[in-house]
């Protein structure tokens, strides 16, 4: 059987009698205007033809496919958030990128939701001139350096990296962990505690400065294309203007973390799209006891559950982007959506893999890759537990983190 490494469902298209070959059962994309819907289709086309078939071997080797950055740029993925598009369009694009590859969708998401936005909103004019256009075309890449080795979700209370003012310069010392794209980024947005006032602040640190070292985290079993780094900052000196002026305290970060959590919600949708179509294609192609697997009640039940998870996840995200545009969007919505769509994705890949038997563990069948990647979706930007407690606090008025 040929590898199933693509973004379409030729199997499904060949079949007669399937009332709903598409994965968008509730026709969410019809909520877009024609222009955006056409654009979404053309992005899907690029992703399914040029990205999805190309990434498997890089994933396998834990390498980053640098030659695909211009393709992403051509699809317009370097500049989604400053482009004036609707939030629904941007969300559906995030889902499509995740459907093609979850590592690259992490890159695209961090790039848009954290880097591009922060540089645009918080950095000096000089820095904007230097980076903004390059970022939009993926000629430059930034990374977001917040998490530290001994602090996961409790980072706000535990920032150990320090920034010391020394004349016109800042001297930054500390360690960061799990920093996506940290191995090849041109600059890092580093969060550090100002030794003078104890406040957390953001600094734009070029990665070629002396004392800045990034080491790739190896033998990571999910998002293997995304290069996560351990970053060591050993008395790194940066000019005073590299302090991102709007970035004092965690307020700015929290806004961004809220938005990026919503983006992970869309990744959860995209992962389910991938899992569903892989499983359905397999069920239609594979025969057992002389009939297609798809004719088994138990297989239909599995596919139907996957479709239910996917449809509810999409519907929830639709409502979320409406709140984003209406101004009613809060952290509790992002937390609930992130936890929900990623746990639904986790169930979907587990079901899909089980349905595919032994083939489900072969990289050739792609579900193996999606399965591993989803584990990270479920965990990053706050584990299920943390997000659950964020929601719990909002609906009970009681904090139960500690």
């Amino acid at each position: 059987m040929p590898p199933v490494m693509r973004g379409e469902s030729p199997v499904v298209e060949r079949q007669v009698g399937i009332a709903h070959p598409e994965v968008d059962l509730f026709h969410v994309e019809h909520l877009l205007d024609d222009d955006e819907r056409n654009k979404l289709h053309s992005i899907r086309e690029i992703l399914s033809r040029e990205i999805r078939p190309a990434v498997g071997e890089f994933w396998d080797r834990e390498e980053f496919p640098f030659h695909l950055l211009p393709v992403l740029a051509r699809a317009g993925l370097g500049n989604l958030v400053l482009s004036g598009h609707s939030r629904l369009f941007i969300g559906l694009v995030y889902a499509e990128v995740a459907r093609a590859d979850i590592s690259l969708s992490a890159l695209v998401g961090i790039h848009n939701e954290l880097i591009l936005g922060l540089v645009h909103e918080l950095s000096s004019d000089q820095q904007k001139d230097r980076w903004l256009e390059k970022l939009k075309n993926f000629e430059a890449v930034g990374c977001f350096a917040l998490t530290e080795p001994e602090h996961g979700s409790d980072i706000a209370g535990g920032l150990e990296t320090t920034a010391q003012r020394d004349g016109d310069e800042w001297v930054i010392t500390g360690a960061k962990r799990w920093i996506g794209a940290g191995t090849f980024a041109d600059f890092a947005i580093v969060w550090a505690r100002d030794a003078a006032d104890g406040q957390a602040k953001a600094f734009l640190v070029e990665t070629d400065r002396p004392g800045f070292t990034a080491t790739k985290i190896e033998r990571k079993m999910g998002l293997r294309i995304m290069q996560n780094a351990d970053i060591s900052l050993n008395g790194v000196r940066i000019p005073g203007e590299n302090l991102m002026p709007g970035g004092e305290g965690f307020d700015a970060a929290n806004v961004k973390l809220r938005d990026s959590r919503a983006w992970v919600g869309w990744q959860g949708v995209g992962a389910q799209m991938a899992a569903f179509e892989i499983a359905r294609d397999y069920a239609l192609e594979r025969k057992q006891f002389d009939r297609p697997l798809a004719k088994f009640q138990l297989v239909q039940d599995a596919l139907s559950r996957m479709m239910a998870g996917l449809s509810t996840s999409m519907a929830l995200m639709v409502r979320l982007v409406q709140l984003q545009e209406d101004g009613g969007f809060q952290m509790v919505h992002a937390a609930l959506a992130k936890a929900t769509t990623t746990s639904s994705a986790r169930e979907a890949v587990s079901v899909a893999r089980g349905l595919m038997g032994g083939n489900g563990v072969l990289r050739d069948y792609e579900i193996s890759k999606v399965f591993n990647d989803v584990e990270i979706l479920y965990t990053y930007e706050g584990t299920y537990e943390i997000n659950s407690l964020i929601v719990g606090r909002a609906i009970t008025g009681q904090s139960a983190f500690v």
Binding site: W178, G358, V361, S368, I376, E385, V402
Partner: protein, 397 residues
């Protein structure tokens, strides 16, 4: 600042909350202890092999040296091993690593058992000891590319030609199938339409074994795609005890329970890792283990683990008494791999990002469990096998 913390998640806790194995006797405990020793040896190194998809043959041979491969069979010249001891050994090997678990299942469970059941005196004399001690690696070539669960419809053929048999066909997923030893090949004779078994030297012309690449689980054992193209073996390579496919089924049925024991081993490894992690990892200034949600998840895993232990123990009692029915073994296998999967999802998540790193073991076990979860058919097929037993109705097709 410094290197990321080592949480020592491989540390043995040997959780057995309901004292299921507290009264294991001294003979069985001796086997068990050797298996624990083996586990301690390989836990620090096996992740590397898994990562690179390399098959560490010396670690298989080491199992032979430690007499961990006889799987409860009486092999002349080796100390006897009860079904319970065999189960505990299987559990410990899988607690260390699923690839080595698979190697033991092939070498001892399938190959040694096939020889012990069906070989001639001469064949026994020649092969039993070398296989039991892993001086020679053996493989068991039954599964074919187009036949997963319905392996009864073998397409590989063996045709008699004078004093030789000529074998043609394809086999898939064959552990040890490309490791330079021998392969027990199962093939259909077109004349009487019966299945027969043959001991085939992997050096025989026409035999080609190629390890399957790109596996996402049990990566530290090579499983081969095998092509048999006019492979000629002498008449005395045939296993005289085999008369039909029923004999193959008997071997499979006898080894089914050990998949349940393997799943238990994985579950134990992941539970202990999660418990270790919860005590050593701090968040908000306190160990994770002080958090309600963490404790609740540990207890969920404990329930699953305890059930797995109980299922293995009871089925093995029945096995020792000679009354175990194949469907009972199927239930244990079905339950335990599913339970291991549930433990895996909780444990992996409890470790958050650290759970994705091979150095912390859990992700390797999680992926290995995925591999054994669909041994002998997808979950659906297994459920329907049990469902038929329960209801008297076949619902496969």
């Amino acid at each position: 600042m410094g290197a990321p913390q080592d949480y020592r998640l491989g540390e043995y806790l040997g959780t057995d909350f309901l004292d299921v194995f507290s009264d294991v006797d001294a003979d069985d405990r001796a086997h068990w202890d050797r298996a624990k020793q083996y586990a301690e040896e390989i836990i620090p190194v096996i992740g590397q092999a898994w990562d690179k998809a390399e098959y560490p043959l010396h670690l298989v041979k080491r199992m032979g040296e430690l007499r961990l491969l006889t799987d409860g069979l009486d092999i002349p010249g080796l100390e006897p091993m009860s079904p319970l001891a065999a189960g505990l050994v299987t559990m410990e090997i899988s607690r260390a690593d699923g690839s080595m678990g698979a190697a033991a299942a092939v070498q001892g469970g399938l190959v040694l058992r096939s020889l012990a059941f069906f070989a001639s005196e001469q064949q026994r004399e020649k092969w039993l000891l070398p296989i039991a001690t892993a001086e020679v690696l053996g493989s068991f070539a039954l599964t074919e590319p187009d036949h997963g669960s319905d392996s009864v419809s073998l397409e590989t053929t063996a045709v008699r030609d004078g004093e030789e048999w000529v074998i043609n066909g394809h086999k898939r997923w064959i552990g040890n199938g490309a490791s330079g030893g021998i392969t027990i090949v199962w093939a259909r004779n077109p004349e009487d339409n019966q299945v027969k078994g043959f001991i085939v030297d992997q050096e025989t012309p026409g035999y080609t074994g190629v390890p399957i690449a790109g596996k996402g689980g049990i990566r530290a054992i090579h499983q081969a795609d095998i092509t048999l193209e006019n492979v000629r073996v002498p008449a005395d390579a045939q296993l005289p005890g085999v008369t039909s496919f029923k004999d193959v089924s008997k071997v499979l049925s006898e080894t089914r329970l050990s998949v349940g024991w393997s799943a238990l081993g994985h579950g134990l490894a992941m539970f202990d890792a999660a418990l270790n992690y919860s005590k050593r990892r701090t968040q908000f200034g306190q160990p994770l283990a002080t958090k309600q949600m963490v404790q609740e998840r540990l207890v969920q895993m404990l329930e699953e683990l305890t059930n797995m232990q109980l299922q293995c123990a009871r089925a093995t009692e029945l096995q020792a008494a000679g009354t175990l029915r194949p469907q009972q073994a199927s239930l244990v296998k079905f339950h335990n791999t599913r339970a291991a999967r549930r433990i895996a999802t909780i444990a992996r998540d409890m470790l958050a990002g650290n759970g994705m790193l091979l150095e912390n073991h859990v992700i390797r076990h999680l992926l290995d469990v995925e591999a054994i979860h669909t041994y002998e058919g997808t979950e659906s097929v297994q459920a329907l096998i049990l469902g038929r037993e329960l209801t008297g109705h076949s619902a496969f097709a």
